[in-house]
């Protein structure tokens, strides 16, 4: 706990420093070192807890009605803390390089807020009582709002900020209600008390679980509560987007798991609901991602997809407890947690490299890019590792977690009770994988490969260490986890068991991981490496015998191929989107010489805004009540009195 506290105070110090030394040239480097040190300190206790499986807590006395403020780290929060500090450090360092493109005055508030946001997130993850939790929760929301508004001079950013804060406040109100129901029976508002609080009435349980789904769902951003996510991620600076996708929305997942841990095994219907939400969110998310041209919006929709995958794991876990298969529960929750961690890693890579592209080309529209692989090779390397990971192909971390989810669902199919229906989710997940592959082939190919489509792509230069280093480091971690899951799986299983309420000791966890086949995945990676190496040697031999020649791309009858002849992102995605028809949320324009498609968010543009318009109209209908005539107002007073008297007489008669 001391270490965590030290880390947080270092982060605060970093914020102070960057404000204090805002006009000093060494300010940024000091900031970076402080943040990295702080995150490093914070990581230590989290890792300890995770691998030992024993929680630690600290109590701050306070005179709130909420009673004491309790903070602590247990396996569940440890997983998210690791993601937080890992991504946070990388993104902060990157952020310095990223904001260097802006004016100083814009940069330092962003850095300070970033550090403070990390602190708020850490507090949310450690809070063990209602009051500190909600407090940190809203601090996090406000901080992220301000981070979105970093470029508040763009109307786009302001709109995104408003949508975000409204959505998140609605979520907060749902949490209001949820905690109010939780705290119904217990006067002490610490989580431990609440945990015992709601074992009794099923009505309250239903309310709590549904409200949790809304309140935390808005933050997690699964369909249909995702509508704030794409605009916010597009508008925020890229390292902030990385933090959002990597950690902020995961806090929603954390909340859901926390509630499960509090109220005990949820009923079956909830598990099915979560599984269904996860599946639909995964499919729709990746589908809508395919339709995007703005690379950051595209990545944001992929976050929706991956939240869906996480939810599928969570749902399977909930079903496991509901139908009495503890192994499944541990697997499901463990898979969800592992995918949370993995997604934090590779989505950050993707956002960071996308940010580098944006900074060096000045556009996020993929149709204007192309051929960047030659100009920013390191960014391209990081990006391709990230995409391979998010698609879930071995030997990368994304594969490990998706493989775990698959295994959970397959095993669900073995059971004899209704649980076996869950196996129907398997093909859905596979479809998601296929679509994700299509989507990232599109991004990678259109942005980095081929020939530049506009001059913007031509002017790009090398991003430099600050923009390339962090993503590459994260990429290395991705490969590491993908090749040695044995080291990462056991703690996740421990955390999963913690959520499921099943005791699981580290040695058992290791044994379980081995039984799941974690070792063989490493072998697979090795085999793959061997095969590739061998084939490469052969290929070298063959090439050495025969001559190599450079030439133009073969392009039918055309003599000199031009960039305009290349396939556009729109046309690349078109066939897939056509298959899904209106569901794909895309408006297409077919011209004689041009094919162009523009995406629309089915929920935001199709549901949320119209409903709000209805509310506004009804409100405007009430305006005549306030028409300025004093006699009218007096009439209100009198009629109120009359109504009161009527009530009085009724009650007197009733007596």
């Amino acid at each position: 706990m001391i270490l965590l506290l030290g880390g947080l105070s270092l982060l605060v110090a970093a914020a102070v420093v960057v404000i204090g030394m805002r006009n000093h040239r060494r300010g940024n480097s000091v900031f970076a070192t402080l943040v990295v040190a702080g995150c490093g300190l914070g990581l230590v206790p989290a890792v300890q807890v995770l691998y030992s499986g024993t929680a630690i807590t600290a109590v701050l006395g306070s005179a709130l009605p909420g009673g004491d403020w309790i903070f602590g780290i247990d396996p569940l929060s440890a997983v998210f803390l690791i993601a937080l500090f890992g991504v946070g450090a990388a993104a902060a360092v990157y952020g310095i390089g990223y904001m260097a493109f802006d004016s100083r005055s814009a940069a330092w508030p962003c850095h300070a807020l970033f550090a403070l946001e990390l602190v708020a997130l850490a507090l949310v993850l450690c809070a063990q009582a209602i009051m500190p939790f909600m407090g940190a929760w809203e601090l996090m929301a406000i901080g992220s709002l301000l981070l979105i508004l970093t470029e508040y001079r763009h109307a786009e950013a302001r709109r995104a900020g408003l949508i975000y804060i409204v959505a998140t406040h609605v979520g907060t109100l749902a949490l209001f209600a949820m905690f109010a129901v939780l705290a119904r029976t217990s006067s002490d508002w610490s989580f431990s008390a609440l945990a015992m609080g709601t074992t009794s009435p099923s009505g309250a349980r239903i309310a709590v679980l549904s409200l949790a789904l809304v309140g935390f769902g808005v933050k997690a951003g699964f369909v249909p509560l995702h509508f704030w996510l794409p605009p916010a991620h597009a508008a925020a600076p890229s390292h902030v987007s990385a933090l959002f996708s990597g950690v902020l929305i995961k806090v929603g997942v954390y909340g859901l798991l926390r509630v499960i841990a509090l109220v005990g095994p949820p009923p079956a219907w909830w598990g099915w609901l979560v599984l269904g939400l996860g599946l639909s969110s995964a499919v729709l998310g990746v589908l809508w991602a395919l339709a995007q041209h703005d690379i950051k919006r595209l990545l944001a929709y992929h976050s929706v997809e991956n939240i869906g995958i996480i939810l599928m794991g969570m749902g399977a876990g909930a079903l496991g407890t509901a139908y009495g298969h503890p192994l499944l529960a541990i697997l499901g929750y463990g898979a969800a947690l592992l995918h949370t961690l993995n997604h934090a890693l590779f989505k950050s890579i993707l956002f960071l490299s996308a940010g580098a592209v944006y900074r060096l080309t000045g556009t996020r529209n993929m149709e204007e890019l192309g051929g960047l692989a030659r100009r920013m090779p390191l960014t391209w390397l990081a990006f391709v590792v990230g995409s391979a990971a998010i698609i879930g192909v071995p030997p990368l971390n994304g594969f490990v977690s998706e493989w775990l989810v698959f295994q959970t669902l397959f095993r669900a199919g073995f059971s004899t009770d209704a649980l076996r229906i869950a196996v129907l989710a398997v093909p859905g997940l596979a479809l998601v994988g296929g679509l994700a592959l299509a989507c990232f082939v599109k991004v990678g190919g259109v942005v980095f490969l081929g020939t530049p489509r506009t001059s913007r792509a031509l002017i790009a230069s090398r991003p430099g260490r600050l923009l390339d280093g962090p993503p590459l480091v994260l990429a290395a971690v991705c490969v590491f986890i993908g090749c040695l899951p044995v080291l990462v799986l056991p703690p996740m299983l421990i955390a999963g068991a913690f959520v499921a309420g099943v005791p699981l000791l580290p040695p058992d966890a290791r044994a379980m991981a081995a039984a799941l086949g974690a070792k063989e995945i490493s072998i697979l990676a090795a085999v793959f490496a061997l095969a590739a190496a061998g084939i490469w040697l052969i290929a070298q031999r063959l090439h050495s015998t025969a001559p190599l020649r450079q030439s133009e791309t073969w392009s039918g009858a055309y003599q000199l191929p031009s960039a305009r002849m290349q396939y556009t992102a729109s046309s690349f995605a078109a066939p897939l989107l056509e298959i899904f028809g209106r569901l794909s949320g895309v408006r297409t324009h077919r011209g004689t010489s041009v094919f162009h498609s523009e995406p629309v968010d089915l929920i935001l543009d199709g549901a949320v805004l119209p409903w709000w318009a209805v509310i506004e109209r009804t409100a405007l209908r009430l305006r005549p009540l306030q028409q300025g005539r004093l006699s009218r107002y007096l009439m209100y007073v009198i009629s109120t009195v009359v109504a009161l008297l009527a009530y009085l007489l009724v009650r007197a008669g009733g007596r």
């Binding site: 051929g371 692989a373 030659r374 698609i391 879930g392 192909v393 071995p394 594969f399 493989w403 698959f406 295994q407 397959f410 199919g413 076996r420 196996v423 129907l424 093909p427 859905g428 997940l429 596979a430 479809l431 994988g433 296929g434 592959l437 299509a438 082939v441 990678g444 190919g445 490969l449 081929g450 020939t451 799941l516 086949g517 063989e520 995945i521 697979l524 085999v527 095969a531 590739a532 490469w536 290929a539 090439h543 025969a546 190599l548 020649r549 450079q550 030439s551 133009e552 791309t553 073969w554 392009s555 960039a563 290349q566 396939y567 046309s571 690349f572 995605a573 066939p575 897939l576 298959i579």
Partner: protein, 308 residues
């Protein structure tokens, strides 16, 4: 003694790899016989590969290192996938719970690299081919996993070796044969799509706009092209072997018999492909998803059957 077991499996893999180029040959031979033409000899692909291997290579100036890695990665992926398949009918060299997923995703990795390579050239033809490839592949993946799910439900196994090499499959044959038959049928349909044979793709066409697979590799040449073509042939026979093993579970036979079954199965697949190609014309592209959906539907029925 495991080590000799391992050697046997390796040998089987090598045999399959030797036989791989034969299957497309058989397919085209069947077609030419059925359509009463003088087609190419069965060994056609061998000679083609041999020629290509001694040719020089041409690289487009737009391409990057990705383009050069394509053949290596692709071939490696297929080989690794093959190593997870119980070719000898008992167990694979590499088996673990959920290796079915690994099997599919390794192939997916190969596709990823291949298609990136296509986009690397910046040619609109190859972009088109890539787009179609990934589109259909996504749908095929969907169907393929339905089949895998139904197999695992039937056998309560999580690994290919367990599914195909365990007595459970034989029991499933005896208990609910129609389900397994539907799985086999569905997988065959998907195989045609995955390995870009007719009616999804027409390997014999020369009009780029109608191609899917051929157009992706337009710019590859020499040994690279050879490796890619070989990798595709190998992929065909790997999936074919999967089919064969499901169709004819051979737990308790001698190794020779099992190998024989495998080879006949592969030939049967080749012949089947040839028959289809000679009877069915290429579908219009918008129709292809329906075709794949049909294949998936077959496996889906099987899954429903097995679940109740």
């Amino acid at each position: 003694m495991p080590s000799s077991e391992f050697m046997v499996r390796l040998a089987t893999l090598v045999i399959v790899m030797m036989l791989a180029p034969l299957i497309p040959g058989i397919a085209s031979r069947t077609r030419s016989i059925l359509t009463a033409r003088r087609g190419a000899p069965v060994w056609q692909l061998y000679s083609d590969l041999w020629k290509l291997l001694r040719r020089g290579t041409v690289y487009s100036r737009t391409t990057t290192v990705v383009f050069r890695l394509v053949p290596i990665a692709l071939l490696a992926c297929v080989v690794v996938a093959a190593s997870m398949l119980p070719l000898d009918g008992r167990s694979a060299m590499l088996r673990f719970p959920g290796d079915v997923v690994a099997f599919a995703y390794v192939l997916a990795l190969g596709r990823f690299v291949l298609v990136l390579g296509a986009l690397d050239t910046g040619s609109s033809f190859e972009g088109m081919g890539a787009s179609r490839e990934v589109t259909f592949a996504a749908l095929v993946e969907f169907g393929f996993f339905i089949a895998l799910a139904s197999l695992s439900v039937a056998t309560h196994e999580l690994s290919l070796s367990g599914m195909l090499g365990s007595p459970a499959l034989a029991h499933t044959w005896s208990s609910s044969a129609p389900a397994v038959i539907m799985i086999v049928g569905g997988l065959f349909v998907l195989l045609l799509a995955e390995c870009s044979r007719s009616p999804v793709d027409d390997p014999t066409t020369h009009l780029e706009l109608t191609m899917i697979h051929e157009v992706i590799v337009l710019d590859h040449s020499g040994p690279d092209l050879a490796m890619i073509l070989y990798a595709n042939a190998l992929k065909l026979s790997v999936i074919g072997a999967l089919l064969a093993r499901i169709a004819m579970p051979t737990m308790d036979l001698s190794y020779a018999m099992r190998l024989g079954v495998l080879v006949t199965g592969l030939f049967a697949v080749g012949i089947g492909i040839g028959v289809v190609e000679s009877t069915m014309a290429r579908l219009r592209l918008p129709k292809v998803p329906l075709y794949i959906a049909g294949g998936s539907a077959l496996s889906a029925f099987a899954l429903i059957l097995l679940l109740q």
